[in-house]
Amino acid sequence: MRDDSQEHVDPLGMARGVADRVLANASTFVDEVVASEGFSESLARGMQGVVTVTSALRRRVNAVGDFAAEWLNIPTRRQLIDLARRLNHLELAVDDVDAKAAEVLRLLAEEADDG
């Protein structure tokens, strides 16, 4: 006969409880570590180191790419970026002209309504 009042042993539940406690403690510990001055300084210096190294590598890769592009007589990455930047400026200028044209049209319409 089944005894409903008896608690069943749930090994998964117990493991989960332990895991939750480990996570909570780890969270408190890690939060304290990342808030420490030592970590902040290490992180900042580490980020700068990584960016400096990758930047040097990227410059070399870009130099090879530029050399290959020139040899193939196609635009280099730098030239394409400059072109895209100029197109952006052009787009802004066109938007300004469009705004002025819309304002002129609005004033003309107002004048026509008044007249």
Binding site: A26, D31, V34, E41, V51, S55, A84, R85, L92
Partner: protein
């Protein structure tokens, strides 16, 4: 009524099957999250400039029942804006459309290396005024309300302070990272302290853009265990609830679908905002014009998340004292930085608060 032996066997077998397959279902839910359709509320693009896109959402109530002042949503430039439109039935934009607002959204897009020289000021002084003009032209309205979220709130503050004669009618700020003098709770202030962080050298070596991965991990490290482990434990727990899993997937996709930031924007944010607090101290100048927050006289609703670890409350609270408006309301809601907009309580807490405040201030005179 007691279960029969057969029912108990089937029930036990079902539980065993679900328990056995739980790891695979969890893994599948994670991998499928990257392809989850999001931002599905119907919309049309009304303007584009460089990578920026302006969308108008298809209204859901008849024109005569709509509020006459359109609402422009300005999201942070470091994330995709679909956080505002996650899933049908769980979408802030959908909610505001149902409340009768004419909703526009500005998507900053994904910058390329050609945008490396863009500054934070450019968003507020170059792009946003143009977008506002398009909203007015498209809607036929003479005024516009604006909602800025996080970095987007900073951009809308810049705009509001610079365009004091402009058509801005109402300003809603969600967790604005404004006053950096309250840096005691901000880990970003500690990590990027000028004692050990050379932002000029860092930005110069970035090759134009700060990667979205760096931004994502910077945000996650604020609550490392919760973000790197806890989020997946959370999914494991709710894997048998399809709706809950879908919401988790949408959020997971959003977190992992960031956009890079132009190096100069990062440099300016660190130097002018984080270190100098120039906007608050009134020393910030854009295009030769000083930015004075006290010039902002439109109604302002400033909303903070009580458990915000990304933008601590101390950074957002001073808004009420800094703007010149007589109509400033500050609300501190019981949520986190993201949960305030996309959490399961947002529909019942934040969204109705915004809608009610805005509706009361969206009537035209006469």
């Amino acid at each position: 009524m007691a279960d029969t032996v057969g029912e108990r066997v089937f029930s036990g077998a079902g539980k065993a099957w679900r328990a056995t397959t739980r790891p695979f279902r969890t893994w599948r839910a994670v991998s499928e999250s990257f392809d989850l359709p999001v931002g599905l509320t119907p919309r049309e693009q009304v303007w584009a400039l460089n990578k920026t896109r302006l969308y108008r959402y298809v209204p859901r109530v008849p024109e005569e029942e709509r509020h006459p002042i359109p609402l422009l949503l300005v999201f942070a430039a470091i994330n995709r804006p679909f956080l505002l439109d996650m899933q049908p039935g769980n979408s802030f934009i959908e909610f505001m459309l149902d409340e009768g607002f004419d909703v526009y959204m500005l998507d900053w897009g994904e910058p390329g290396p050609e945008d490396a020289e863009m500054r934070l000021d450019d968003y507020g002084a170059e792009y946003l005024p143009r977008a506002v003009r398009r909203v007015l032209a498209d809607s036929g309205a003479e005024e516009v309300s604006m909602l800025g979220y996080c970095l987007g709130a900073l951009i809308t503050l810049l705009y509001a302070a610079l365009e004091t004669e402009g058509p801005l009618r109402n300003l809603i700020l969600l967790t604005p990272p404004l006053d950096m003098s309250h840096d005691e709770d901000s880990l970003f202030s500690a990590w990027l302290d000028k004692r050990w962080f050379d932002v000029d050298r860092f930005a110069t070596n970035l090759d134009g853009l700060l990667s979205s991965t760096a931004i994502e991990n910077g945000g996650k490290m604020l609550k490392a265990v919760a973000n790197y482990v806890g989020a997946y434990v959370n999914l494991w727990d709710r894997i048998d609830d399809p709706e809950s899993v879908r919401n988790w997937q949408a959020m997971h996709r959003w977190v992992h679908d960031g956009v890079p930031l132009p190096a100069q924007v990062f440099r300016q944010w660190v130097q002018d905002y984080l270190w100098s607090n120039a906007l608050v101290s009134g020393r910030h100048v854009v295009k030769g014009k000083p930015v004075r927050l006290s010039d902002i006289e439109v109604p302002v609703l400033n909303i903070l998340a009580k458990f915000d670890h990304i933008v601590p409350n101390g950074q957002s609270l001073p808004v009420a004292d800094l703007v010149g408006s007589d109509d400033v309301q500050t609300e501190i809601l019981s949520a986190g930085h993201i949960g305030i907009m996309a959490g399961h309580k947002a529909r019942h807490v934040l969204w109705p608060t915004l809608s009610a405040w805005l509706a009361a201030r969206s009537r035209t005179e006469g």
